[in-house]
């Protein structure tokens, strides 16, 4: 693995290897050493969680980070080309971790520079490190990735997290329930990808009553701004809020995941149940990102 750009590039073996390395790092069996290594965190689009998570991962390995957040005060603002910005930053760093609203920008970056590039989100396209930390959370809580029943709920149209996750877990033969308002359904190209792999999926417009047979319920936020009429949002939002009362008949092994930030789509009374796993999931992100950097910089 030279770069991490898209879940589509990763084989099942590479994913499993990464999970194994993340588990060893968490257990302290591998202690990666990144002294004198510098990671450039280029966030052309604002991010707190993903950026902090990478920053933490690098620092836990004794590495350093240089951070660019937004395009204010940068040479991009002065008219420097994307390629020149990348080439220059690559001279200062051992690895580039980038987020951009422009789709395909991480792929292009990986073709411009010689240092490894990690895609930390490119528009509505891919967010592979989030997908990998989600997979790590799933394998940790379920003991396996194969043949699980997974519910993806909320904004499935614009959420790159759910796109990357669906493609990733499909490699292991999952069965999906997609729960979203009609106009925020999973895009056709993702559904086509799943159909080509003979992955079963069903689509629902209500969360309640459709989660009892799930192993994983992955909830995402529906942004009010997606609705042309705010009244339409008010009408449907209740159908996508997970309440504690909806968990009375779920499977014992169910875990509720969320990429965070949460607004009101998971009621806070769910936090104390055995099913809530979104905060440990965020912690898993640090181990997974340590593993990604470790492997890309030549670790086992």
């Amino acid at each position: 693995m030279k770069n991490l750009i898209s879940m589509r590039d990763l084989s099942k073996q590479e994913i499993l290897h990464l999970m194994e390395v993340a588990a060893k790092i968490e257990a302290g069996d591998i202690v990666p050493e990144m002294k004198r290594k510098v990671a450039a965190l280029l966030f052309f689009e604002p991010s707190t969680r993903t950026m902090f998570s990478f920053d933490t991962a690098m620092k836990r390995m004794n590495g350093q980070t240089i951070i660019m957040s937004g395009t204010q005060n940068t040479s991009a603002k002065k008219g420097e080309s994307f390629a020149d910005t990348l080439q220059t930053i690559a001279q200062y760093s051992d690895i580039i971790i980038m987020r951009s609203p422009v789709e395909g920008s991480a792929r292009l970056a990986s073709e411009i520079v010689d240092v490894p590039v990690v895609n930390a989100g490119d528009g509505a396209n891919q967010h592979p490190t989030q997908a990998l930390l989600d997979l790590y959370s799933i394998i940790k809580t379920q003991g396996k990735l194969e043949n699980l029943k997974i519910g993806l709920a909320g904004d499935l149209r614009f959420g790159r997290t759910v796109h990357s996750l669906a493609q990733a877990i499909a490699k292991f033969g999952a069965e999906f329930k997609f729960i979203s308002p009609k106009f925020l359904q999973m895009p056709q190209y993702i559904k086509d990808d799943l159909s080509e792999q003979n992955i079963k999926f069903q689509e629902f417009v209500e969360m309640d009553g459709n989660i009892d047979d799930l192993d994983i319920l992955y909830v995402t936020r529906i942004q009010k701004e997606r609705f042309a009429d705010p009244e339409d949002y008010e009408k449907v939002k209740g159908s996508y809020i997970l309440e504690k009362s909806m968990l009375s008949n779920v499977k014992d092994n169910l875990k509720v995941l969320h990429p965070l930030p949460r607004v009101d789509e998971i009621s806070t009374d769910v936090d104390d149940t055995e099913y809530a796993y979104y905060f440990p999931q965020a912690k898993n992100g640090v181990y997974t990102r340590e593993a990604i950097i470790h492997i890309l910089l030549g670790g086992e």
């Binding site: 898209s6 589509r8 080309s81 994307f82 390629a83 609203p101 422009v102 789709e103 395909g104 920008s105 792929r107 292009l108 490119d122 528009g123 509505a124 396209n125 891919q126 190209y189 086509d192």
Partner: protein
């Protein structure tokens, strides 16, 4: 001499691209990037036993390879490539859709990097489902949705 040969003159040496979907010949010429040194003859809306109505193009003194011409299959299926040497047909093949294509297509995704930076567009082609996938933004499109760069 048949009526068809009178409509579009025979060439001594060069390439004939036959069975082009009627109305698409000018696009084909754009795709082939034919330079000014070549004489080019085109026929439009000719009767065809094979496809009903067809366009045809004859390029004098230029021998196109299958690789060069295959991208035509993106905009017109069932096209035939014919190589002429000394008025004789020396090669006749039906063009196949290539596995990938560069430069020629504009990505329909306005948020794709190929539409905002100076990047050569690249697509993988699935000839069975007749779809292409952008190498950069990874979106999949049917052939009908594509715009050819001119």
């Amino acid at each position: 001499m048949s009526v068809k040969q009178i409509k579009v003159n025979a060439i001594k040496n060069g390439t004939v691209i036959d069975h082009i979907t009627a109305g698409r010949v000018l696009k084909v010429i754009d795709i082939l990037n034919i330079n000014d040194n070549n004489s080019v003859m085109i026929g439009m809306n000719l009767n065809s036993r094979k496809i009903g109505k067809k366009d045809i193009v004859k390029i004098e003194n230029r021998e196109l390879s299958e690789q060069e011409a295959n991208s035509i299959a993106l905009i017109s299926p069932n096209v035939t490539l014919i190589i002429i040497k000394d008025f004789e047909v020396t090669k006749k093949v039906e063009l196949q859709m290539p596995d990938s294509i560069e430069k020629l297509i504009v990505c329909p995704n306005s948020k794709c990097i190929t539409n905002s930076d100076e990047v050569t567009s690249k697509f993988k082609i699935d000839s069975i489902s007749k779809t292409v996938r952008c190498h950069y933004c990874e979106k999949k499109y049917s052939l009908e949705e594509l715009k050819i760069k001119i």
